[in-house]
Symmetry: C2
């Protein structure tokens, strides 16, 4: 029976797809191409390109970049309708996501609506950016009884500061959103060199920043992840 597949393609290196992801991609009839979402998914497409069947049907879905929740839900419902009809016509439809489909992905916005149409769904996990960053540096994200807090950097919330004050390891997603605030949070806590930030990890453009001076001096790309270890590095 045909399904709607959410497939994690990992952080960038095509060898970091799982065998299951590759096998699933190879049997797809349709690939979703989300548009107007900071081009995030075209990166996913490029990572998986060598595994995608040649001449596969591509369906563009519009995900508007607005804050209006009603407009967003309306777009998701509309997109879910398109996906559901494709699957109901017997086609295996795939939505590729950078990293893992369950960690901050656009794919997940469609899932409840596709599910409510009675369409079967399968999600294939992927390597997250933070696991890739830690592996690149041969460092643990956490050991023993240490906690890990994953915080998307946003202006409106103090979750970064709360996490840093209470937990041993903090992962900052989208650190480029507010580098100044991030630098201040690190400096006021004596964590000037207790972090690794990697942009475009596992690709040929991979770049490591690990001092506050370098953080403040450079421009940090959108595709970056930071691991802060309050107990430092061994």
């Amino acid at each position: 029976m045909a399904k709607f597949y959410g497939i994690g393609v990992g952080p960038g290196d095509p060898k970091l797809l799982t065998l299951k992801a590759v096998e699933t991609i190879q049997m797809l009839d349709v690939i979703i191409s989300p548009i107007s979402e900071k081009k995030k998914e075209s990166i996913a497409f490029n990572i998986a390109k060598s595994y995608i069947p040649e001449g596969i049907e591509t369906v563009e879905l519009l995900f508007p970049m607005v804050d209006d929740k009603e407009a967003l839900v309306s777009a998701w419902k509309n997109n879910a309708e398109i996906v559901s009809q494709l699957v109901s016509s017997g086609k295996n439809v795939g939505f590729l996501t950078l990293g893992d489909p369950c960690v901050y992905s656009t794919y997940m916005y469609l899932v409840p609506y596709v599910k409510s149409n009675g369409v079967e769904i399968e999600t294939i996990p992927g390597i997250t950016s933070f696991c890739a960053v830690a592996a690149d540096q041969n460092i643990p994200i956490a050991e023993w009884e240490e906690e890990i807090c994953i915080i998307p950097l946003k202006h409106e919330s103090d979750s970064l500061e709360r996490a840093l004050d209470q937990f041993s390891n903090v992962i900052v997603m989208k650190p480029s959103h507010d580098v100044e605030r991030l630098a201040t949070a690190l400096k006021t806590r004596g964590l000037e060199s207790s972090f690794k930030l990697i942009s475009k990890c596992t690709t040929e453009h991979s770049n490591v920043v690990d001092t506050v001076d370098a953080l403040e001096a450079g421009s940090i790309p959108y595709l970056s992840t930071m691991i802060i270890k309050k107990n430092g590095f061994k």
Copy 2:
């Protein structure tokens, strides 16, 4: 040049290894077999078995299960010495880890000591148990500006309760350590059915528990991971 490899084999399904993990395993000369560590790594070996070269040299390393930090460090140094000598003799040595090597793995205890011997190290990331659980249930671990806290359940710390009180999504590692306390923490916050716990996810023995009644009634296996979503499920 020969290296010491830490290789994540994912949560259980052999198809959830990455292409890179499989390729690396196939070129190993030696596989480390850690003993006396709750048999965790023999599970990793079994997951990867079909990719491991036949007749490969296996080296047993003792990781004592004690709380004495000095005894532990001494064992790690000793094990790192054995690994370093093997790599220096030109052999590619692999340490397989369940899930991801940077998320609470035994492999990471060796890394600083092997590194200090000047041996080259490469870590290959893996699919974490929590990504596998979320994928199995087709649910997001986090969306939008939500945070994720990952907490290993331990008696001595109140990090579980602090995380639940402050952050939207909490992942509990090793929930079997104290099911009673976990149930209490959920009940006092009205989260009786706001979680998914899966044991042996992605294997044929996979089992889902998603109500406090079932949590308290059953015996929870060691290899389990719980995702608590305070905003519930869609």
